[in-house]
Symmetry: C2
Subunit: 321 residues, 2 copies
């Protein structure tokens, strides 16, 4: 009988787990929101319970599972299945041997842990916009900004597993806009949702006037959805935030082209919901830089794996590793 | 009998060709300066004559040659041995089928053409600072700024051969400093020798005073050697140019780390002659950005293949391709 792929998406707000056929078809999925515990071991315990239910309800025993892939936002020591840093998880998971601890509950089952952008990149490569491509870079523009690099069918992870951090690449070395990593002028701090309050505030200080009742007091609530509403209401500050984000993402695509010359970039992440004009502006900015330097067109496509991209990506890692 | 490697370094000011043993030992080398002809075919003719002399004088026939590797500054379509753009060559070589034309004179001999940074990267990997490393990025800071990426022993060239262009990556997306590629804020335009006159002029306009008799009239002569003299004489403008160059190169190393997490970066190119303080400043700038993001130290070493780096790099490509 065909073995199944199991994916776990360990996010800051929700924990999801799912079973897929090897062709990417979703068999079953379960979600919980009470996984933010006080210790790493307790988090693993929640995952084990969730997987137990998922397997039982679908009449699947661990012998049917080809492996369990987990995706997490952060720096991951892939080979050892350890966590280096996490981006949006309250528990300090630094140095936690996640794969070993989860694996103890599922003897004989392959357990992999990877960065969420790497996982989604591989999911797009196997099942999404990257089918048929040998090499691609998946770029996710969301709360953060990240990427996963696939060359000749292999995820490029670097010596410790932290490659692909396009969001931490510096695109304005003289900037006074600070990223959560501590650096100034990272692409992430200038383009991603986490920094929309800072950017909104910055443009107001520069003299733009908010027409959607955002002030210095409530600017902390600004997120992608509010910027979308702002764009629709022609709020000048929201438009400036979105414009700057698109310019920085487009510039980052050009930097990816310059460094890796991939045949395809797949664009995904929650901020694609900002709409066609935003996406068009990203692509326009990219092309404004290529001039005579691009001999073969770098294709840019939108991600196709949809709402379950994180889960499917995590599960797909089993086919690579 | 052991076959020999032949390297050709096709530069803007000189053309060199050399024979090496497979262990990298130089057997013989020849140089000419009259290769800047009116057509690509004539340039190839000069190369053929130079190689003919080199082979005859060393009693080597083409059956002894494992292959001829040529390195050129520019964008190269590696698989087809064609030139896309050149950076410092007066003849328009765009689209020229270099490998085919050179190969017509040496039937049965493997002919390869590659970007000079890729060639030097592979030379460092085989014979220089990269011996024993699986992956490295070679960064050359010279008239231009370029890099060559080697992952698991293979040069990463991208879909058309133009990967590794760290110099064209944008590190200041709001900059008004223009690069020869047409873009603003490329690392190359802010760090490499070709742009020292522009940068010197910019700092003078910003109010720094030259103490080495450089004015708007003669600023065009500013090059790496003059900046070195300027640093020694504590000229404030020269020091500002060197400081900015080091900061931009250090930032570029951090961007390389973020994207590729390589175990090693090898630093080379003519501007390393700016001295220990310049190199120290590059490395210091790199480390100022890494914070908790670097789990395993990215080693930074100086290039070791020396004066014949271009030739040895070109020749070494034969062992890869």
């Amino acid at each position: 009988m065909e073995k199944l792929l199991c994916g776990v998406d360990l996010g800051g707000t929700k924990l999801a787990a799912a079973l897929f056929k090897q062709d990417g078809t979703l068999i079953a999925k379960k979600l919980v929101y009470d996984h933010r515990k006080d210790s790493c071991d307790e988090v693993v315990q929640v995952i084990v319970e969730l997987l137990g239910k998922l397997f039982r309800e679908n009449g699947v025993d661990t012998a049917r599972i080809a492996g369990i892939g987990t995706a997490l936002a952060g720096h991951i020591l892939y080979e050892e299945g350890k966590i280096i840093t996490t981006s949006n998880f309250p528990v300090n998971m630094q140095g936690y041997p996640f794969a070993d601890r989860l694996g103890a509950y599922f003897p004989g089952v392959k357990i992999l842990l990877d960065n969420d952008a790497n996982a989604q990149a591989y999911g797009e490569y196997k099942y999404g916009a990257g089918r048929g491509s040998g090499s691609l870079v998946f770029v996710t523009v969301s709360t953060g900004l990240g990427s996963g690099i696939i060359l000749d069918g292999k995820v490029i992870r670097g010596q410790s597993g932290t490659a692909g951090e396009i969001g931490h690449c510096i695109v304005d070395y003289k900037s006074d806009v600070r990223c959560s990593c501590g650096n100034f002028g990272c692409a992430m701090a200038l383009a991603s949702g986490l920094f929309f309050p800072d950017l909104y505030s910055m443009y107001m200080k520069q003299g733009l006037y908010s027409t959607i009742d955002i002030t210095e007091e409530n600017v902390g609530q600004v997120d992608g959805r509010m910027i979308l509403e702002g764009i629709r209401a022609e709020d000048p500050v929201s438009c400036a935030v979105a414009e700057n984000s698109a310019v920085v993402v487009g510039t980052s695509l050009f930097n990816i082209f310059s460094m890796l010359d991939p045949e395809l970039v797949v664009l995904g992440g929650g901020l694609m919901a900002l709409g066609k004009d935003y996406i068009k502006r990203i692509i326009e900015e990219f092309h404004s830089h290529t001039h005579g330097m691009m001999y073969r067109e770098m294709k840019i496509k939108l991600a196709e794996t949809g709402a379950d991209a994180g889960l499917l990506g995590a599960a797909s890692l089993i086919l690579e590793g």
